[in-house]
Every structure is written in C-alpha cells, then in structure tokens.
Symmetry: C2
Subunit: 202 residues, 2 copies
C-alpha cells in the first residue's frame, strides 16, 4: 500500500521508525522554508481577520480506532490511521459564493505532474462545477516560486486527456496559456481572492 | 480540563479506560438507533448521488503527535488529541451558494440548551452571514423526533441574549416561532435543501 503524506508526497518505508511531529511553525516575515500550505493558511487568516472571505483548510481525515481516557486529563488517541480525503483541502465563502480549491506544488520546472491529484478529488471538482461553485487549483513551481490559479474546468480537461492515454502532466506552456499567475505578496502572501473577484466579476 | 466529545457532550472521566471505536454503522431502512448525524450523512449522500447539492461533514480535527511507520504497512498514529473545531461541522455548495450548518440534538423536551454550541462556532456563523453565506442550525428534539431549521441570525440573537445575562436556552415556543420544521422523510431523511431552496428563493 502506498501511503501519501497529507502534502501529497509519497512515503517509501525503509524500516520501522517513529516520527514525532514538530509543533506548528510560527509565522515569520521571511518566506524561507514556508511551504505553499503555510502561505495559504496565512492568506486565509488575513482574509478572515479583514472580513474579506471565510476560507478554511479541512482537517486531515483520520480513522480513529482506539482512545484512552486517562484520569483527570485529555483523551488520547492511541491508534488511528490516515484516510484518503474525499474532497479538496480548502473551501469557504466569498460574497455568498462557494469557493473550493486544492493547492499543490512541484519541483519539476517544466511541467506539472497530474499524479499530484487523486481520482476522487478530480471527481469532487467536477461535482462542484456542476453546482456552479467556484473551483480551482493553485499550482506552485517551487524552483521558480511561481504560483498559478488554474480553473478546475481546465484541470478536468488535462485529466481527461491523461485518462485517454495522453501525457501524465500539464506542460508549463499549457499552464501559462490557461491559468492566471498570482504574484507572491507580503500580506496576504497569495492573494487568490483578488484574482477570483476579477475573473468571476464578483 | 473539560473534554468534549465531537457531539458536544461533556466527558467526565471516572477512571482510566480504553475504548475501541466501533466500525461505522451500516445504513438501514429503519430509523431505529440512527443519530441525527447518521441521518444527515445519509441525506448528504443522497444529494451527492442525485446531483442536488455537494455537502460534506468536515473530519474531526485531531492534533497528531506521534506516527509509526511499520515496514510494509500503513502508517499508524500512536498519539493524537482531539482539537476543538473552529468552524461548524457541515458545509458545501447548492446552486453556487455557500451552505454552512451545524446539527445538534437535545433530550430536553421543552427547550434547546445553548451549551450545545461553542463561542467560536457562533463567531464562525456570524462571519458566514457577513459573507452572505447561507448559515443555519438543524435542531432535533430527540424525545419527539422533531427537527427544526433555524437561521443562524436567530441563533445569534438568542446567543446574545444569553451573553447579556438572559436565559441559557431557546424555548420550544421560540423555536417554533422562528424556525422551520423539517419532516422526517424516507429518502432523503432530512430534506433541508428543499427548505433552503424555498426560503432563499434559489
């Protein structure tokens, strides 16, 4: 069984090991070491604090198997497993409209591999578009630090092409042609709502 | 520290104990033993399968502390804690509009205790209304099996009354006056979207 980290990276087990999760990083002024997820979370906090939009990251889905209730202290989950998410990671509301997106990054400088997405996530995006929701992906090329907003309808097109035997990635040229670059800012870091407001005439 | 189950009930620890979580109940044709949550999940599955709306329950938020990666098998979470949710449990899209709600039940036959809600959830509802999202609570009186849809603006009113020293619950009469009953159906079980469609002229 392939296990994927919540960030989509595949974990290849070498030997039994135990990992203690570090405490969440504090927000810093420099972008050094900040992941796409941290940038988006910071952006969403900015939107929330300024009454611009209410967008949250969904919790990582976990199947809980065993819980201990020690005397006079908090319940401890002693056995649980990561479940595959059936939706995208982020959703919320902007001017009454439903907003839904997934964010992914690649170290590949020339194309965006479609293996970053799962079948059920793409299906979810299709259903959102059918319900007239605003659905997109934020794609980040980590080498060049470029971020693009690609409407889900284009992702569905490239996904379909792959399913029909075509290439397993979206070329950088195709992304440039079909998506909208989002310049990295200071506050907010990734102002995707500004782009959405413009693109959808909200 | 007070620990609350995801269903809002307070857990009073008596002694150290270990609980193994039962597998999810299978959907059955009778309503015997079905909780409000199961009824809503079944309703949402119905909406999804019939292309009516895309509404999901958010995963229970968990703070993961320690993960084991056994050789050739799935990662096991060995230590984690329940985190308090910062939003409501359900959200999604219907006809492009953002839908957000919380579902609670009480065994009290004459009033609905406000302790079923948390401060931050009520704050979240306020922010959703400011963004022109559709936000409400589904209240179930388990003794009479009655379900009411109460717009979040009314909940905010009763919450404010409590904060100003008023009663800590909403009387059944106030609920009848300000909300909309949802008859329990067969498929879907709790057709709240039909009510929303009518109430908001969607």
């Amino acid at each position: 069984m392939n296990f994927h980290y919540p960030n989509g990276k595949k974990y290849i087990p070498q030997k039994k090991e135990t990992i203690r999760i570090k405490k969440e990083k504090k927000w810093s002024f420099s972008n050094r070491g900040m992941t796409l997820e941290e940038d988006i979370n910071e952006t969403n906090e900015y939107y929330l604090a300024h009454g611009i939009a209410v967008i949250h990251k969904k919790p990582t889905p976990v199947q809980i198997v065993q819980v201990d209730y020690p005397k006079r202290s908090a319940a401890v989950i002693k056995e649980a497993y990561f479940k595959q998410a059936s939706t995208t990671d982020y959703n919320g509301v902007y001017k009454g409209r439903y907003i839904d997106f997934e964010a992914k990054e690649t170290q590949n400088p020339t194309s965006f591999p479609l293996k970053n997405f799962h079948e059920h996530q793409v299906k979810h995006m299709e259903l959102i578009l059918e319900q007239n929701g605003i659905c997109f992906v934020l794609l980040r090329f980590s080498a060049s630090e470029e971020i693009f907003l690609l409407d889900a309808k284009h992702l569905l097109h490239f996904w379909k092409r792959m399913k029909e035997g075509g290439r397993k990635s979206i070329t950088k040229e195709e992304i440039i042609e079909n998506s909208h670059p989002i310049p990295l800012g200071y506050r907010p870091r990734i102002d995707y709502i500004k782009k959405i407001d413009y693109l959808y005439n909200l």
